[in-house]
């Protein structure tokens, strides 16, 4: 990266070269992300398939590996139907509004030490702020579709996301208190020293709350009342087809991956190895068991798997039950936990340091 910058600087004005480098970095993050989204859908169908004692897609390409590509092509060539009485402009802005924040958040996610697009010092805050913008796309989509099912779904999403945002925010406050920083790289680094350094041990309650609200935030089962196939058909995207629908789909899966990555970063030491420095001296093992991107990938994949697992296992909550869970259980839990950590910090008893 350094060499590339100096090379570009040699014949381009400094601003332009910086711009090119940033663009390249964005592409380097976006492309694998989109690919990951595509293959998450494939993994979802396969994993749930095997959980339900069936095969999942296995016809397109070797073992079905080309299925996501085929799906994309199909979606791209489908006609985008606009309902007659919809507000056309909002109808088309909505999916973009849903996708943009889901992708923008990735700018502050570090993939390894220094492997981050924008190492801002209030990264956590930015994630919270941008991630909550997601909901606008969904609300507008429901409104613009001019369908009763869609508007019901929008109302549900609005209420659900607002309540779970609070629980999630509080869970992040706990992380912030323990690691003393809002910068994601710092938060990960504060969890050094192997397995026992991970935030999940002092913050296990907050981790559970965070992950549950993450599932709720992304409208995934068992909190998928926004889509609630058997109640409100497909909810906010019931009137969308083709690429417009695909954008919602993309946004949902990008957020899923984001929540999984965040869980790994905030509570499970991100790219840090659970073995700490145990193998630092052995040549090959130090690479495998040492810190690195592969650990983050592994942890993220595990949480993604949990998403799919939940979906195959649980029935769907009712709308009012979700509210009750959020306000009466998750938020009190986080408050008590934060209070406990506050007291511990105030009295200087900080075993996580």
């Amino acid at each position: 990266m350094e060499t590339l910058t100096t090379f570009l600087n040699s014949f381009l004005p400094e601003g332009l070269s910086a711009f090119i480098v940033i663009m390249l970095k964005i592409v380097a993050i976006m492309l694998p992300l989109i690919l990951a989204v595509a293959y998450t859908t494939f993994a979802e169908r396969k994993v749930i398939g095997y959980m339900q004692s069936r095969m999942g897609p296995n016809r397109v390409g070797p073992k079905g590996w080309l299925q996501p590509i085929a799906d994309t092509v199909k979606l791209m060539f489908k006609e985008i139907i606009t309902p007659t009485k919809s507000s056309k402009v909002v109808f088309f802005i909505a999916p973009m509004l849903a996708l943009a924040p889901a992708l923008a958040v990735w700018s502050v996610i570090p993939f390894w030490d220094g492997g981050v697009l924008a190492n801002v010092n209030a990264g956590l805050l930015l994630i919270l702020a941008v991630n909550s913008l997601d909901v606008f796309g969904i609300i507008l989509a429901g409104w613009a579709s001019n369908s009763k099912y869609a508007i019901l779904s929008s109302l549900r999403v609005g209420a659900q996301v607002v309540s779970y945002e609070i629980a999630m925010g509080f869970a992040l406050v706990g992380v912030l208190m323990v690691s003393g920083s809002l910068n994601l790289t710092e938060i990960v680094k504060a969890q050094g020293g192997g397995l026992l350094g991970w935030n999940v041990f002092p913050l296990c309650g907050l981790f559970v709350v965070f992950f549950i609200s993450g599932v709720a935030e992304t409208n995934r089962a068992p909190f998928d009342v926004a889509e609630g196939e058997s109640e409100i058909v497909a909810g906010f995207h019931v009137e969308y087809s083709g690429m417009a629908f695909a954008l919602f789909f993309l946004a949902e899966y990008a957020s899923m991956i984001l929540i999984s990555t965040l869980t790994a970063l905030l509570f499970f030491g991100g790219w840090l190895s659970p073995f700490g420095n145990t193998f630092a001296d052995t040549p090959i093992l130090s690479f495998i068991f040492g810190d690195g991107f592969h650990w983050l990938l592994l942890k993220t994949m595990f949480f993604l798997f949990c998403y799919l697992w939940f979906r195959a296992t649980f029935p769907r909550y009712r709308y009012d039950q979700i509210m009750r869970l959020g306000w009466k259980i998750l938020i009190p839990v986080t408050l008590v936990w934060i209070f406990g950590i506050g007291i511990a910090i105030a009295y200087g008893w900080q075993p996580w340091l």
Partner: protein
């Protein structure tokens, strides 16, 4: 400030949880249902009217298509009504076969119900689990009648044929290797009865599997407990039958109260609920799985030990053997008469009801002495259940409507007829 008023939501007829073609016009105050107005008739095929223009035997197939997830039970109701009017009784072996297939059908029906109910409430894995077992029973249907769904297996005077001695095997294909075939054919080596017995041996474990997924699942309970409560008195007033009635604690089952076929010879229990909510009805049906399984087991044992005829020998009503027709003039005439004209029922009327998986299924036949019914009335349990929709959903939320539809086990083939 604008006036706040309820809005109407058109639920169905092309809604994923509409179980076919239910059209509900919901009057809602936000998420809360104020009034649910079911509109029926979108799947009306005029079964009752069609039966008036056909010889009796040709309407058996229509009965399959009423409640198309519990086919043989429908046939049973119709065939019993005809037998009642003819004054004949099927041979005992045929009665046992009917009993066994009634229970197989009950399991088939309840499997679809648990799958669809699970899917409605959001537990989609149930659907696939249930279909795994359904597939085996479908194969049994196919083995005895040649059709996986619309069997037309019961006939007045018995059943179409005895249970075959061989179970059909899977064959190799592009998608199944030799190893797959070996695994698939593992329990199909013997007769159909062997296959059924093998099924009854593994089925209780499957029910346990369903129960681990649902029975104590907190979300499942939150979604079902206290949803759609019916008091026993009200259930009787509404004409609810089957699990809808037993869930409310009324111990009413035609298999015990008006035994038909061989039910008085068999050992089984009738589960009843206490609260009359969706969860109790769920538990009742889960127990019915086990009881049906028990009945099938007893029937298999009896059928193994006691060979015999499966068809009444009065050839004015039942067709003669194929080989007899080759040499025997009388037999050929009988067959010709049966195939063209059918048989005439004495003047009069009869009502026969059976305990269908969904409730009381009855056929009321009026005959004017011709070879076709003057009038056929089908009493379908689903229709009565449907009319309780408004009462069961009032004050609940939109998501609960779906639960109630699931718990009613509605199939539109029989509601609309």
């Amino acid at each position: 400030m604008p006036e706040i008023r309820n809005f109407t939501l058109n639920f169905g007829p092309a809604h994923p949880a509409a179980h076919g073609v239910l059209r509900l016009v919901l009057e809602m105050d936000g998420e809360v249902i104020q009034r649910a107005d079911p509109h029926v008739g979108l799947l009306h095929r005029g079964t009752e009217k069609l039966a008036e223009s056909k010889p009796y035997n040709q309407s058996i197939g229509y009965m399959d298509r009423l409640d198309y997830v519990s086919m043989m039970c429908n046939e049973h109701g119709y065939v019993l009504a005809l037998e009642k009017m003819l004054g004949i009784e099927a041979p005992i072996r045929a009665q046992y076969i009917r009993t066994m297939f009634d229970e197989i059908t009950r399991i088939l029906n309840h499997l679809l119900w648990i799958g669809a109910h699970g899917l409605d409430v959001g537990a989609m894995t149930m659907f696939l689990y249930a279909f795994r077992e359904r597939e085996d029973l479908m194969d049994v249907y196919e083995a005895v009648s040649g059709a996986r769904l619309h069997a037309t297996y019961y006939r007045p005077g018995g059943v179409y044929r005895d249970i075959p001695d061989v179970m059909p095997l899977h064959e190799k294909s592009k998608w199944h290797s030799d190893a797959d075939i070996k695994r698939l054919n593992d329990n199909r080596g013997g007769s159909v009865l062997d296959f059924i017995e093998d099924f009854t041996n593994r089925f209780p474990k499957c029910v346990d599997e369903y129960e681990t997924l649902l029975t104590d699942n907190r979300i499942w309970k939150q979604r079902l407990v206290d949803i759609g409560i019916v008091s026993p008195e009200r259930a009787l007033q509404l004409g609810l039958t089957g699990a809808m009635l037993r869930g409310s604690g009324v111990e009413w089952d035609l298999r015990k109260k008006q035994p038909y076929a061989m039910y008085d010879q068999l050992d089984f229990d009738i589960p009843v609920g206490t609260n009359g909510d969706s969860y109790d009805r769920y538990l009742v049906r889960m127990e019915e799985f086990r009881q049906s399984n028990k009945i099938i087991k007893q029937c298999v044992d009896w059928l193994r030990a006691n060979p015999g005829p499966v068809m009444h020998d009065d050839h004015k009503i039942t067709p003669p053997k194929r080989e007899d027709m080759k040499g025997d003039m009388e037999a050929l005439i009988h067959h010709f008469k049966l195939a063209t004209e059918g048989y005439c029922l004495p003047e009069g009327e009869a009502y026969a009801a059976i305990e269908h998986p969904k409730g009381e299924f009855g056929c009321y036949v009026v005959s004017d002495g011709a070879n076709k019914p003057y009038r056929l009335k089908v009493r379908a349990p689903g229709f009565a259940h449907m009319s309780a929709m408004d009462e069961l959903t009032k004050g609940h939320m939109l998501a609960d409507v779906v639960t109630v539809i699931g718990t009613m086990d509605i199939v539109f083939g029989e509601v609309d007829r």
